[in-house]
Symmetry: D3
Subunit: 171 residues, 6 copies
């Protein structure tokens, strides 16, 4: 069985040595969905025009979250992110619980010795948690699903697309 690289010979965690790797341009895209009551959904999509822009606050939180990744995920390397962006897809169709959904997709770039998958995933997580926080006064039953890596480019292991996450979000 393949080894987890994040452990040393004593079986203890380490930050993997990437000093032998070349700087390459890398991009990672992650996505996740928060499910909200229809009334919350209406309230959120109204925000950009009227007053109270939940998604605007979540956007800022997600971008700052990407930058905080190496502070909160123990074995992540610090990286000089060159871009962070987040997009939303709003879907008022209802799931089995009668909830609508908001999907956030984060794109993160770097020129460096290791990739930015964790930065993209952290950006989406903090973004969705902020939507929860801003809306929880009227809706405590929201839940997050389908959080995963859509694709990555660059680096030694090459390009990657995740069919399961694609099926969840791009299908």
């Amino acid at each position: 069985m393949e080894d987890l690289t994040h452990f040393n010979e004593s079986g203890r965690a380490r930050m993997v040595d990437v000093s032998g790797k070349h700087d390459t341009m890398r991009v990672a895209v992650a996505a996740g969905t928060i499910h909200v009551l229809p009334a919350t959904f209406e309230r959120i999509i109204g925000g950009h025009m009227k007053k109270g822009d939940v998604l605007g606050v979540a956007q800022v939180a997600g971008i700052m979250g990407a930058k905080a990744t190496s502070s909160v995920i123990p074995m992540c390397h610090p990286l000089l992110l060159t871009q962070v962006d987040i997009d939303y897809k709003l879907d008022n169709s209802k799931d089995a619980n009668g909830y609508c959904s908001i999907t956030a997709t984060a794109t993160v770039g770097v020129t460096g010795q290791t990739g930015v998958e964790m930065e993209a995933l952290t950006a989406v997580s903090i973004c969705l948690l902020t939507i929860y926080d801003m809306s929880k006064a009227i809706d405590k039953g929201m839940y997050i699903t389908n959080l995963g890596l859509l694709s990555k480019e660059g680096g030694k292991s090459g390009d990657f697309t995740n069919p399961h996450i694609e099926a969840m979000h791009r299908g």
Copy 2:
């Protein structure tokens, strides 16, 4: 329609004024699930005995994540957390994609003027993202689902149990 309290009269975000609320003892419990390949699952459950304790690192990350909540979620109040704990449920039954699952449940307590839902949710998120990070060398297709608030106690709005999240995790 009820207002989102996190916005001021100009429709801009604010940190809600809780100065008139009493200090009460509060506990929040949140949970979420990460889905991993069976080989990854075997590798992770072996960690506690052998070498490379993925869940041990994720535990530390989740607890530190709870403490970082008011730094990463923009409108969260700083709070003096009195307890943070995380438990795991490991399930080797396979979902539709053939993935096993690890569920993390975080319990956070405080005596304060506002609740710790966000701290419990953030603890679970950072914990699961760390499992992803520690395992991604052998498995990039992992995904997180069913992240939500199981229950909260204390505070003016009283106790709360979330039937949807309960059905997902306690069913």
Copy 3:
């Protein structure tokens, strides 16, 4: 001459001992102004309706800045802020350099043993610096003036209003 309380008997900096002080409810209000080219001004005031809400991002930054105060100002006590809010006053009249102005006013509250003047001042500073950052692609000559404490309530030293800052901002 009165002593600066932030120094110990050896003349070295310390965090003042406030352990003998009672918890009281305190509020501080600070303000500051950024001066921007008329074209930048038009671009910013258009943001809330159209696309690109500079003040919305600055609002989030200022509120998070208030929470970061005890991390960036060396002798500040950590405090459990109970409220943070920021308001803007937009003035298209031109100063001697032909610049319009945006004034941010931050209100911060706490129930604690020491006041929140620094939190209010830091919120305004970070808010205005964020406006600068978001607009600097089209205007590098912006400048900040009249940053000071408008008023404080609560605490042993009692209420305080600053006539100079009032004259600058409320005149």
Copy 4:
């Protein structure tokens, strides 16, 4: 009208993509002034010799503030600062309110894909706020003015000198 680059096509904030830019050596210089009562002024300038070095503490705060920039200004890129320094100019002439002035000038350098204007401005802001904090026990009416970018070198947009800020500080 020129676009603010810090917004994406949906009009939401993003961290600008600088991945196509070359690493160049860049320096930015910013300055700002805090106005203090003559008695506070005397107390501060006495500090370096006697006991209680306000400017020494502010120097450390400002340098650490430069390093914290990408954590507190939402859309700032993380950067590997290669130098940070702060100088003071003390002026006991009195302004219209009878206040003396202390001007802090921060010089920040980097070799990177984007500039360090925000780092220099943040260093000055945190430095001056720390002077305020250390002195506020004897003087709550201090105020900050003329905070802006004096000059920048390097980068695609070339060198820049700000005549308004120069007139304020170098005149």
Copy 5:
């Protein structure tokens, strides 16, 4: 054998539940020594009068380090520190390696549900590491010894004095 309270029933780390404990006034005092070459020693003690105040910078770092404790020590509770102070004892007598010594003693106070031993120890550590950093251009062989808790007051377990650490520092 007594249990380590920082582990839960599954043997995984947790932040201990202190919600049942009363707020009491607590003080902890820790100390540690850095050993430096005589030439470095002379350079450091000269700093307060002349130029380059190593101990002044270390003082600020130690105080900020106390406030950062719950961010860097995983199971530490966040606390509202009410005082932090650091004192130095300079000793030019030479140890077996011919090194002089500088001892830093940190005093930290809180009114809270748990003690501040870790905050005092962290303050001393960061303070001494900063002395190392500021002096390492002329002396890379410095070393730190005798870092421990001198005493603590308050809390359920009562007052405590450490004879070994006392013998090291107060003897």
Copy 6:
């Protein structure tokens, strides 16, 4: 007498200008020892097999501490660490106070314009303080000694080995 480079011409602290230095691969190794009661020692070495892995938590804390170095040590440059690892040596022989010892050795690597001595020393410090924190419920008399730099490679000043620290740890 050689000058401390961390001060400017006014004698105030600065972050040294390294912009003229080349990127080179650098590694630093630091070590330190915590002395614990025999009962605590037994409890800690049992942790990896049974339940309650003190050294596992300390490992994570130390690695995250390395990444936090430029945030807590005022004049440290931010750096893109390429590796961090920590090893332990457990010694049940008793010192003069009857204490056993645990030595942590941290290895930190970077490709950059300045070295990682402080990152290695900070990793060891935070690691040992975490062992203290996890064990202090049963042992408050622990103390840390022999914390210093074992060796560094790379950079203009070349390789360095510290005979005093070597004698302490490798003897």
